[in-house]
């Protein structure tokens, strides 16, 4: 169908993500996830690695990419698939103080001032 592939890397991200080239949901580099209590069985090797590493605690997508040495765009797609299947979830808020603030910028500003 297509001409000779000069660069095998062109096909690799596509294959590695089970045929998806875009995340199925809004998963960003800074999106935090943690593993849910789901079985590993049935996952493709890369998805399995992502899921396994997320069992250790809360990580951002970029940190999973760094730790597993996978391209960040591939990890974004794998994470969105694993969220769709219930293997990964957003970390659970523990207290009311932890509720999403109406003013994230103010909170970031406050945090930066506290470390200045």
């Amino acid at each position: 169908m297509s001409g000779p592939r000069r660069d095998p890397d062109v096909v690799r991200p596509y294959v590695r993500t089970g045929g998806r080239s875009r995340p199925s949901r809004d998963v960003r580099l800074e999106t935090l996830v943690i593993a849910a209590d789901s079985p590993l069985q049935g996952l493709e090797p890369d998805a399995r690695r992502v899921f396994a590493v997320c069992r250790g605690g809360v990580l951002a997508v970029a940190e999973i990419a760094a730790g597993l040495e996978l391209p960040a765009s591939v990890v974004r797609i794998l994470v969105s698939g694993l969220m769709d299947s219930g293997h990964l979830a957003a970390p659970v808020r523990r207290s009311r103080a932890d509720a999403p603030t109406t003013d994230l910028l103010k909170e970031v500003l406050h945090g930066l001032r506290s470390i200045a």
């Binding site: 062109v10 396994a52 951002a60």
Partner: protein, 225 residues
Amino acid sequence: MASAPSPDPGPSGGGTALSGGTDLPGPHDTAPDLGFEYHPPTVTRSAKLLITGPFGVGKTTLVGAVAPLVLRMDESMTEASVGVDDLRGTPQKTTTTVAMDFGRLHLNESLVLYLFGTPGQARFRPLWEGLADGALGALVLVDTRDLDHSHDVLDLLEEYGTPYAVAINRFDDAVEYPLDEVRQALDLDGSTPLTVCDARDRDSCVRALITLVEYLSARQLESRP
């Protein structure tokens, strides 16, 4: 490749610390030793700022000065390249892997801030979509010895609608220009903050970030009805 400047052991082999059950991992399912620490379980929210600017301006230096943990990730970038692939005339695409460093710092018990070192040359445009999406704003480092190379990044920021502040990273051999001249040379909007920092000095970098976030915060207030 992950590099952790701090010798924190971290919960290494975190994946082995599974809470029992029937789903014990096989030898290949053990979580690899990340080489850095997971977030504390109280961390549930994140924010992102871009640290950008032209080649060699001190982005990595600033991220390392501010963040206690700096990591490196790869991103692949597909570009249409010049020339055509074979007789069919389909545009040839090449995939380049770009290493990007980012730092993380915890701002309070539940909030983590990521600083993404973001290359500002026009050829890195394909990376920007994933980086700019969700970013609160950007700190643009410039070098007064070479302001011409800052135009690419300012164009990218406008294109992606990312609000920004500019900080002159003062190099030892750089002549000190009045800020107004720099502002003019960069054709900055009157409201865009322009400060000076030393990318090697943590306090001056934190101050530059505070200037950026104060601006972002004021901007947000203004845009509210």
